[in-house]
Symmetry: D3
Subunit: 162 residues, 6 copies
């Protein structure tokens, strides 16, 4: 059985992430969406909230699992018997960053392969960072994130602003 | 009447900015130079000081207006009846960043067009960030910023150092 | 009056070209779509056929003119009193090529400005070259070129194949 | 069963191609290495010679098939029930070219997915074109192509020179 | 006598740095490895520790000197009679950053030349930042940094963790 | 003694080439400007004419030698005891091309080092190809090539046109 992992911060999940998740599923028998716990970044959503959001969207889907992890990605892969890392690439800047990461991971664990999918043109400009910036100014998030995420963001900002 | 906006931090105004302003004016009937109020960055000059600098340089020019704004650029454009955003592009890194911004702005407000001018070769290496770094070491700023800005920077740093 | 020129080979006109033409018109009072006569390339359509195609699509539009030219673009601009060259940019490869051209043109004629528009994401992958390749294999051109161009291409290839 | 296709000119097969083939096999249940018949290029090896070379190297491997095809890649994929195109990416230039191709193919056949693998650093500088240039000057091809290809190239050039 | 300077943070020294140092030495009669004292960054190793590490590795080598400096690099070069700045370039992102720096330095001190060496493919993915990240998770640093640096990092982290 | 080689087509020599030659001389004790004899390209100037042009400009300079060569550059370097290849880099496209060449040359001859200089901003848009195109339309070449080359080009084209 081919198990693939799609790692990221997902803070928040965007339509670009959903596109990669949908397309990744055809490549693997089982897909693990893995939320990286980052010690430095100040996130908008807690790891638990992010787990809840992705689990809500894929609640009836047994071929997909949502987890969180800390530490080195390749160590987590080894511990879980995962051999395929899947990454979406939007542009040159992403590409150079991912090329560096894939090279390091290949040094640390040559048996793990990194697979790239190109984000579709209509999603290529979406980033979690930009979604948070637009949200902070109360801008329109339709077409950038799923409806369920819009609700969660509105709740989050209304509690921040109150 | 065609109104264009040239948004930026202008902290401080450089010769690269001046080049884009001069060349932008031929494209519009009226040009709005708009200082973006950024909540996160720690600026060298306050928004008021930056307004004063650009107003000083263009004091006798009725076809150019200097303003500050906060919030989303496209919302500001809508509120002012502005249909053209003008951006200077120096290199690939700028280009990818601007391409992403233009795509988001097009999603949020399809009626607003983003126009790009390429910074001339002799100015393509100038950035406000680098000007501040050189200034902090008391380096030579001639050929990087207008004379009036050099004075303001010297005043600023002499008051910081005192 | 601001006159802009949008130069290119247009062999054939694509939906990407149409996007740039539409968006260019807001920037100028009058737009000249200029077919560059290239001595070296072996075109699919003759210059006259390309003039006919673009004229057909914009037949009722007095603010737009379609012409052909040979020689240096800036010399043609000078002879016609044109001060704005408009170019669409799809990606990094385009960007570097256009940056070089704009720099040369600026050396040859500093009074002529080059303005860049970014091709919309959904058209960013379309090129005339690729349209011709797909057409040569009888592939589906819907969503790549206007309907009128599809007919012309089919006529062209059926006469070639006969 | 997941069938993937690795298309290319393979004129000649290089160690970079071998790296992508080896790594592609883990992703698919069956891999089709497909030699694109290009009407315009003047190849070093005929399509039959290229089929022979790759077949020789993978002679005992029933999970891999070597074929040639002409026409549009996505049409060939459809006719063979193939849903995954695999491409190696060495650098930015490759990346932009592949991004354009993947976008076109997605328009022509949305059900077919393109998967990218990054060529390992030690192979990232190898291209068939450069192998041919070095070979034409009788340069050392060890570490660039498999031993069997070196023999074939030597035979080819000694017959050309004779 | 040609004196070259190889400036950097070297926090910590990596195998990529060693590669550039080795190759730089052929270009100059004397090489100055210069640790830039950065007021903003929070380093892993103090400047003294970094001096010690590089001095340890090159202890018996009179043609190489290790120093630290603060302020503008070109001012330091002028004060030391150094005319060649040597920089390693790994990828496009490095290249644009270095091109900007070289242009500024050329404005500030036209008599000082910047020379670029391309980092070898096998080291092109190594950065000090990534070494620190892997070290923080106790990952394997073999093949990324010299053995002496591994010891220093282990001492550093064991004292941090204690 | 350090001998460096600056290889190229030099068809014709441009102000960009002169910039690199001048700056290369500080790096080497002796500089060899080497005209690559290319079997495929249709040149404007014969190899002898190109030798004459560069020799004319550097006629009184014993530290610089102008030669032509065919075959692999690294083989020529080995035969001449040359250890430094010097290349000018103008932009990203150049950079990727040169990075590939340097990697191949390093495989073929690890003892030969490739050194890169960045073309100054004011020359970064000049290419021999573009000079020939402008010349073919009788455009102004001042500021693109040395005066002596302008004369040679005018002679060449007047004899072609006659």
């Amino acid at each position: 059985m081919r198990i693939g992992i799609y790692p990221g911060s997902f803070d928040p999940l965007t339509n670009g992430h959903l596109d990669i998740i949908e397309r990744s599923r055809g490549i693997c028998d089982r897909l693990v969406v893995a939320i990286a716990i980052n010690r430095e970044k100040q996130p908008l959503f807690t790891v638990d909230e992010r787990l809840e959001i992705i689990n809500h969207i894929y609640k009836d889907d047994s071929s997909l699992e949502v987890v969180s992890f800390s530490g080195l990605l390749v160590e987590f892969c080894k511990s879980q018997g995962i051999h395929y890392i899947i990454r979406g690439v939007r542009n040159i800047t992403d590409f150079e960053y991912e090329m560096t990461n894939a090279s390091v991971n290949n040094k640390l664990a040559p048996e793990i392969e990194t697979i790239f999918l190109m984000t579709k043109g209509e999603y290529a400009f979406i980033s979690s960072k930009m979604v948070k910036e637009i949200a902070s100014y109360n801008g329109d998030l339709t077409s950038l994130v799923p409806q369920f995420v819009i609700q969660k963001i509105q709740n989050k900002y209304s509690s921040i602003r109150r």
